[in-house]
């Protein structure tokens, strides 16, 4: 049963299985383990990023496509549902219309970018996606009457997802069952389903062709695979899943804005996570997102404590000053790439292989 759910692509390393289990249980029970809006927000962000990063891994790690347009598709999903809810009022119909519209737009854009440019060399493709994504984010900010410009838009979600909604009066395990909790589980289970879906794709005959294209596209062609078609399909799949990740994020935040959904920072976060977690593994997205989002949110807190503890030694206290958290995140990144060039998942799997216990 579990083997089928995981498409027979098991973690293949005991520490990795343990880490995945911790993340899974942590996210599943998050509303009952932690209190406070911030912690739950971190958990929901991890869920969304697992999907977003895994869909990027489909392109970069499996197919060898370097794209900088992934945030654009994420943004399309978020804006699609956000603007629909803003304009049509908080109904499920609006959620549906927004999602369907966003998916269609993403599909068309991914197809057009793909068919026009996946034939060219990888570096040109990367440049084209960068240009399209930048243009898109400029347009989104400029059309401020429609998109809310730099400020973005806040909107109401359907009633059952609103924080003030109560499913019933009693509490479960000391927690009221409110709209926020329901939204969290909507995000969690959607993310889980999308993740398992991607795991299946990469372990299907199609997924193996993607790997073959990454390895040697010239040979894949000689075997009879039309690589343009496969690349374009991978591109569309990645784009559609990123769009759905955007939908989930917008429903969770009840807000869309260019900084959170379209900025290049999101793209760099995705790139960092996929490299830290391990490219071409899908599982890397889980470990990478959990570590990265946790660090992003709690490194500052940790450093403030460290800095206070070392207040006697000015140099160290200064070094650990919370304002330096980005520096330390950078250091952590460089170290992790240095010590785990194949990412955390790649590293753990190699260890398991060397011990002869797959």
């Amino acid at each position: 049963m579990i083997r089928t759910l995981l498409s027979r692509d098991l973690p293949r390393s005991r520490p990795l299985s343990a880490m995945l289990l911790v993340v899974l249980l942590g996210l599943m029970l998050a509303p009952f383990l932690v209190s406070g809006a911030r912690s739950l927000n971190v958990a929901a962000t991890i869920c969304v990023f697992v999907v977003l990063v895994a869909s990027y891994d489909l392109l970069l790690g499996y197919t060898g496509i370097v794209s900088f347009a992934h945030t654009m598709f994420y943004g399309i999903g978020a804006y699609g549902v956000g603007l629909a809810l803003h304009g049509m009022g908080p109904s499920w119909w609006a959620v549906f219309v927004g999602t369907a519209g966003a998916l269609s737009l993403s599909l068309v854009l991914a197809l057009v970018i793909g068919l026009f440019s996946l034939r060219v060399r990888a570096i040109f493709y990367a440049m084209i996606t960068l240009a399209v994504a930048s243009a898109f984010s400029v347009v989104a900010s400029q059309m401020s009457d429609f998109t809310g410009g730099e400020d973005g838009r806040t909107f109401k979600v359907p009633e059952i997802l609103q924080p003030s909604f109560r499913l019933f009066d009693a509490e479960i395990l000391g927690r009221v069952v409110d709209g926020k909790l329901i939204t969290y589980y909507l995000v969690f289970f959607s993310a889980l389903a999308l993740f398992l879906f991607m795991l299946r794709i990469v372990n299907s005959p199609f997924g193996r062709v993607l790997q073959a294209i990454r390895e040697n596209d010239f040979r894949a062609e000689a075997l009879g695979y039309r690589t343009v078609i496969y690349r374009t399909l991978a591109n569309c799949l990645g784009a559609l899943i990123a769009t759905l990740a955007g939908v989930l994020m917008a429903l969770w935040l009840r807000y869309v804005g260019p900084k959170t959904m379209l900025s290049f920072e999101v793209m760099t976060d995705i790139l960092l996570i996929v490299v830290i977690g391990g490219m071409g593994t899908i599982y890397g997205a889980v470990i990478g997102s959990a570590l990265f989002i946790l660090a992003q949110n709690y490194l500052q807190v940790l450093m403030a404590q460290a800095s206070a503890a070392m207040s006697g030694i000015p140099f160290l206290a200064n070094l650990f000053h919370p304002d330096r958290w980005l520096l330390w995140l950078g250091v952590l990144f460089v170290l992790s790439v240095y010590f785990f060039p194949t990412g955390i998942v790649g590293r753990l799997r190699i260890k398991a292989l060397l011990r002869g216990r797959p």
């Binding site: 299946r200 299907s204 005959p205 997924g207 062709v209 390895e215 040697n216 695979y225």
Partner: protein, 257 residues
Amino acid sequence: MTTEHPVLSTHGVSIRFGGHIAVNNVSCEFRPGTLTAIVGPNGAGKTTYFNLMSGQLSPTAGTVRLYGEDVTHLGAPQRTKRGIGRAFQLTNLFPNLTVLENVRLTVQSRAGLGLNMISMWGSHVELIEKAEHFLHVTALSERRHELAAALSHGDKRKLEIAILLALEPDIFMFDEPTAGMSVDEVPVVLDLIHHIKALGDKTILLVEHKMDVVRSLADRIIVLHNGYLVADGDPAEVMASPIVQEAYLGTGMADHV
């Protein structure tokens, strides 16, 4: 059997790389049941001629026909689907996939299952069995779970041939299949080619420098020199012809003849 229609033919194909014409106005027909050896000194254009026929390159002039159909503007995948199978001179594998996966991808392409996203890769037992068969005939079964990158040179060459066999083509194109192999590995490959020939209906094209191999296998020899087709015919005749002697003598290859 040579009276049958040609399955593959080129009509005045040329290709120019900058100022250099690597294949120059070559017309030739290949018929089923025949093994044609393509010989010529290094840089004569043999591999380039192969690339023009199997679709890796498009000619700057001339046409390529496959079963009478003009395929000049079709790419390699479409020509592979129509029955051309190619083994490359420079080993050309999927290095970070296993030996079995390399061959399975080939079997899968032929089965037309590449676009299946829903089923599991491991659940297609019939494809695995078929792939295992081709590993068996190329003596690679023991290596099935090794990464292609980790194979010895000889085993990589064998895997290259296993992939060609797994394509189950009608037209087999071997580009120096035994180059760089150890002495005891060569017979495995030659036996395989003999076996394909014995099937009787396959069209085999073989680029080969070793003249004893050519002599033992070829029904016909064509000679390329500086991109030109300079001789075409019966093996004994072609090898004796002065133009061939000269082509090889001129490049220090005479001892191979």
